[in-house]
Assembly symmetry: D3
Homo-oligomer: 225 residues x 6
C-alpha cells in the first residue's frame, strides 16, 4: 500500500514535520510519499491560496495516481478537497474532515485550536460543511496575552481555555504543522488531542485496505475529457 | 495491538462472520478477539434486547480490559455504546457511528440498507444522534416484493432502489452479519458499499495506534466506585 | 386512574420528596404509587448507573402493568425511557422530555439548572434528542463560588445567572429531588420554574385520561417473546 | 379551576364540538367555558383571517381574564398565540403547539392530517416554529380520490397513507372540529390519534394546577399602557 | 415604478427619516410613497402592537394597491408581513427579512444592533423564521454602561462589542429609524452596516422591475371573499 | 455605476444570452460589461472546471476592478465565489446565492430546475451552504421521459412536477443560460420563476448604490502580498 500525502503549501519544514508524522504512523507497514505542492506559497491562508495551488495539487494527484493507492490532503483547510475527490476513484481524505469526524466520536464536544484568529471563520465553515457545527463547541486561537510563550505553551493555554470555558472534551489541532505537539499536549491537558494528519491517514489506510473509494456516480462523478 | 470485537448477540454463525471479517481485515498485523455476548439473544432487535445484554457486554469489557487495547461493538444499533465508552479510557467504537461517519466522507448522501422495515426508525435515531441526518438520504429494507430472492439479491435490489430513487451515492450495510456481501454488492452496484464491522476496525486500530481514546473529563468521565 | 412513579435511584429521601410532590399534584383525584428502584444506587449519575438499574425498572413496570394506567420516570436523565416505552402500550413519560417540552411553551428560551457541572453534557444530549437544542439557552450548575450557600440559595443564584447572562426566560430544575424548591424559586426569580416531576405527571395523567399511549407500530413496537 | 377555550372562528357547530370535547375531558373536575370569537368568519383559513379575529380574541381574553385561570386557543393554526401569551401571565395554550409536542413524545415521527391541501404549508411553518420539523414526517390532506367518502373515511384513508408511506407512528388531527373522530380513528388505525383540543387542555389544566404561566420577562413581557 | 413604504408606527419623525432614506435611495429613478400607519402607536414594541396595527396596514395596502407596484414594510419586526404577502400578488418586502438575507451574503456571521434588550428575543425569532439562526452570531442592545452617550455612540459601541466579542463581520441596524446612522457607523467600524429600509427597497425595486411577486398558489394564496 | 458580469464558461452563445438579460435589466440606468472567462470550457460541470477557471475569473476581476463597481458571477454553481469575495471590497454576488435567497422570500418552499440530473447534488450543497436546505423542497432535472420536447417544454414540465409533487411555490432556474425562458415559464406555470442572473444584478446594483460591499475583517479579509 502506498499513500501520497500532499502538503498543499511549499514550506519544506512543514513538509518534513508531516512526513515524519506520516512515516512514524506508517511504521513500515505501508509506504508514504510526502510532497509539497509545486508553485504553492509557504503558508495557505486564503481562498486565493487555495485557488492558486489547485493546479499543483492536481498535477501531484495525476502524476502519482497510477502509482499510489490513495491520497491525504495535509492542511486543516481541506483546500481543493472536492476537486481532488472528483478526479480519482481512489480514496482522497481531507485532514479537517477526518479529524473532525473522529473527534466527534471521542466526546460530547470538541474545540479546534487554530494558529490565528483570522482562520477561525473558515474552520467553522468546514465544521458546518461536514455536519458537525453542533459538535464543535468553539474554535480558538492564541491571543496577544500569550504572545511571549513558546508555540507549545500557547496552544496548550488556548486548549485549556476551550476545555474550561467552552466545555470542550476533545481538542483538534488546527494545523498540519502542529503534529509533534499532539502527544505532549494530550499528556498535559488530560483530554484527547488529535493531530489531523494522523487522522487523515487512519481513514485513508483503512479505505484502501478494504477497497473502497469515493463514490463516482453523483457529486464526484468522473467527466469525459 | 489487540482488539476485542464484541458481537452483542449470541448467534454463533454471526459471530463467525464477524470474526472472519475482522481477522481478514487484521491480516495478521494485529490481533482480534471476537466474542459473542453471554446471555444475549440470538438477534438484537429492541431496546429491551439492548438493555438485557448490557451486563454481558460490560463483563466482556471488564474481563478483557487489561488484555486488549480497544473495543469494537459489532452491531448496527450501537447498543450500549455510551456506557461502554464511559467504562474505559481505551477506544470503544460503535460500527454504526464509524460506518455513517466514513460514509459521509465518500459521497453526497448515503443510504442504509437494513434487514427489516421495523428497524428503520432506530437507524434514523442514530443518524441524528451522530449529526448525520442531512447526509442520510434514506434507510431502506427489503419489502415483500423481493421475499423470494436470495439474501444477496434482496439487499442488492434494495440498495439499487436507494441509488435510483433516493440518489444515494454510498451504501451502508445495516447489519454486522452482512459483512461477506459488501464486496460483491459493491461490484454489482458500482458505488461504495460499506461493511460496518470493517469501518469500526479502521477507526479502532487507528485510535489505538496513536494512543487516543475516549475523553474522560465530561460526558464519559469515570466515576468512583 | 393510577400512575406508577418510578424513582430510578434507591434514595428513600428522594423517593419521599417525589412521592409528596406527586401526591400533592394528584390531590386525591387520581392515585399515585411511588417506588424506588430495587437494586439501584442512591444517585443516578452515569451511563453505567442507567444500565444497571434497567432490570429493576423493568421489573417495576412489569409487576405493576396490569394494575396501573401509566408510568412516570422520575429522573432528569430519563434513564431507560426508550425501553420502558417499548415494553407497554400504556403511557410512559420521562420527566426530562416532559419538562423541556413544557418549558419551550412558556418563553423564548429555557435553562436547566443542574446539580453538578459533570451532568451538563447529558442534559444537552437529551435536549438534542428531544429536538429542543435551539430552545435551550444553557445548562448551568452551581460552581465553587456558591459552595457555602444553602441548596436553595445555590440553585437560585445559578438560575439568576442563566436569566441575566443567557437570557433564559424559563428555568427547568435539573433533578427530581428539587421538587420542593420550585415554588419558592419561582417567587424569588419572577420567572416560571418547572419541577420536572410535576411536568411528567401533567402529561401522563392527560394521556391516560384520553386513552392515548405510545405508538406500537414502529420505534416502540412490541416484540414476540 | 376555570379554563376559557376560545374557538377563533364563529361557527356554532364547531364551537359545540369543541365544547363537548372540552367538557367531556373536564368531566366536572374543572370548569370549561367555550366561546366562539365575535366578529370572526366561520372558518379560519388565512393570515387575513388570523389578523381580523385578533380584536375579538383579545376581547375574549380581556373580558374573562379575572374570572378564569387559563386559556386554550382551539384552532390548529394557533392564530394570534403570541399576542395572547403576551397579554396575560396566566397560561395560554395553542392546540397546535400542544398537540405536536405531545405527539413527539409518543413515537418516532408524526403526521398531521389536515382538512385541505392548501393548509399544508402553514402546518409545516408551525412545526418549524415549535422546533419539530424533524419529528414531523408529513402533512397530508384528503385528495380528490377520496372526495366521495364520508369525513371519517377520508381522514382515516389519509392517515393510513401517512402511516404506510411516510412511516408516521402518530397522527395529529389537523382541525379542532375533528375532535369526535379521534377515538374511532385510533381504533381503526392502531396508532395514537391526537385530538388537538384535548392536548391543549392537558397542558393548560396542568400549568394552572401548579401555578405556572407564560414567562413575563422577555419575549412575552407585559408593556405599560 | 412606484413603491409604497409603510411605516407601521405613527411617529412622524421616524416616518420622515424613512421617507428621506427611501427617496435618497430612489434618486428620482422611481417613485416612493411613505406612509405611517393610521391608528398605530408611535413605537411598535409588542405582539399586541403588531395585532393592533394590522387593520391600518391592510387599509394602506388596499387603498394603494392599484396605484403602486410593490410594498416595503419598514419596521425591523416585520409586523404583519405574512398577511401583507397574502393580500396581493405584488411584491411585499419586510425589511428584517431583506436585511438579514443580504447580510448573510456579505460575511461569515452578522449581528443585529437593536434599540433595547427586550427586543432581542423577537429578532432571534425572525432570524430562525428566515433560516438564518446559524448566520446570526448575536443580537445586542446598548446597556446601562453607555446610557450617557449619544444614540450614534451607543450603537457604535454596541456594534463594536459584537465585532470583537461575537466575531460579527456585518452589522444590521435593528430599527428602521436608525437609517441615517448606517453610513457613519460603517466608516467608523470598518465593516458593512446595513440600513434595513434600504435593503427592503433593493429587493422590492428588483422584483418589481422583473415582474415577480409573491407566489399565490400555496402559503400566500388568495382567498375568495 | 458599472457592473462586470462574469460568465464563468467560454460559450459565446450563453454569454450573449446573459449579456442581453443583463442589459435589458440595466435598461440604460447603469452599465453592464459581460465577459466570458478566458481559457474556460464551454460548460461548467465539475469541481475541476471550477478550479480550472479560477485564474481566468481572477484575472477578469483584477483587470476590471478599478473600472467597475461590483461583480456578478453568472453561473448557478457559484464557482469560485469565495475567492472572488476575498479579492475585492466591492460587492461580488453569486447568482445561486442571490436567487435562492430571493426565492425564499416569495413562498413557502422553492425548487431548482436544473439542466441535468448529475448537477443535482451540487445545487443541494449550495442550498445548505446558504442555510436554505429547509426552504428548498427539491432539485429536479428533466429525465428521459421528456427528451423529445423542446428546452422550454422540458423545463416547464419539470417545474410543473416540482409544483405538483414537491409543493414548490417558487421555481429557480438552474442555469444562467435559461434566462430567456423565465418570463414565459412564469406565465405558463402561474408561479414566480426566477432567472438567477437577474437576481444577482438586483443585489449587486443595490449594494453598489448604497456603498456596501463584502466585509473585509474576517472570512474574506484581504491579505498582504
Amino acid at each position: 500500500m502506498k499513500i501520497l500525502v500532499i502538503n498543499p503549501n511549499s514550506d519544506p519544514v512543514m513538509t518534513d514535520v508531516i512526513r515524519k508524522t506520516a512515516e512514524q504512523f506508517a511504521g513500515g507497514e505501508f509506504e508514504v510519499i510526502c510532497k509539497h505542492t509545486p508553485g504553492a506559497p509557504s503558508f495557505i491562508d486564503s481562498y486565493k491560496d487555495e485557488s492558486r495551488i489547485a493546479p499543483g495539487m492536481i498535477r501531484l494527484l495525476t502524476e502519482h495516481e497510477s502509482e499510489v493507492d490513495g491520497f491525504v490532503i495535509a492542511c486543516q483547510d481541506d483546500p481543493n478537497l472536492d476537486v481532488m475527490k472528483e478526479l480519482t476513484p481512489k480514496p482522497v481524505v481531507g485532514i479537517a474532515e477526518a479529524s473532525m469526524k473522529i473527534a466527534s466520536m471521542l466526546g460530547h464536544r470538541f474545540s479546534i485550536v487554530s494558529t490565528s484568529r483570522p482562520s477561525i471563520p473558515n474552520h467553522e465553515v468546514l465544521a458546518r460543511k461536514y455536519h458537525l457545527q453542533d459538535a464543535l463547541t468553539s474554535v480558538r486561537a492564541p491571543g496577544d496575552e500569550v504572545k511571549n510563550l513558546s508555540e507549545e505553551e500557547k496552544f496548550t493555554a488556548t486548549a485549556r481555555a476551550a476545555i474550561e470555558e467552552d466545555m470542550a472534551e476533545v481538542i483538534v489541532l488546527g494545523c498540519a504543522g502542529m503534529a509533534d505537539l499532539a502527544k505532549r499536549m494530550q499528556e498535559n491537558l488530560g483530554v484527547p488531542v488529535l493531530d489531523p494528519v494522523v487522522c487523515g491517514l487512519i481513514i485513508a489506510r483503512g479505505l484502501i485496505q478494504v477497497g473502497v473509494g469515493t463514490s463516482k456516480i453523483g457529486r464526484y462523478r468522473p467527466r469525459e475529457v
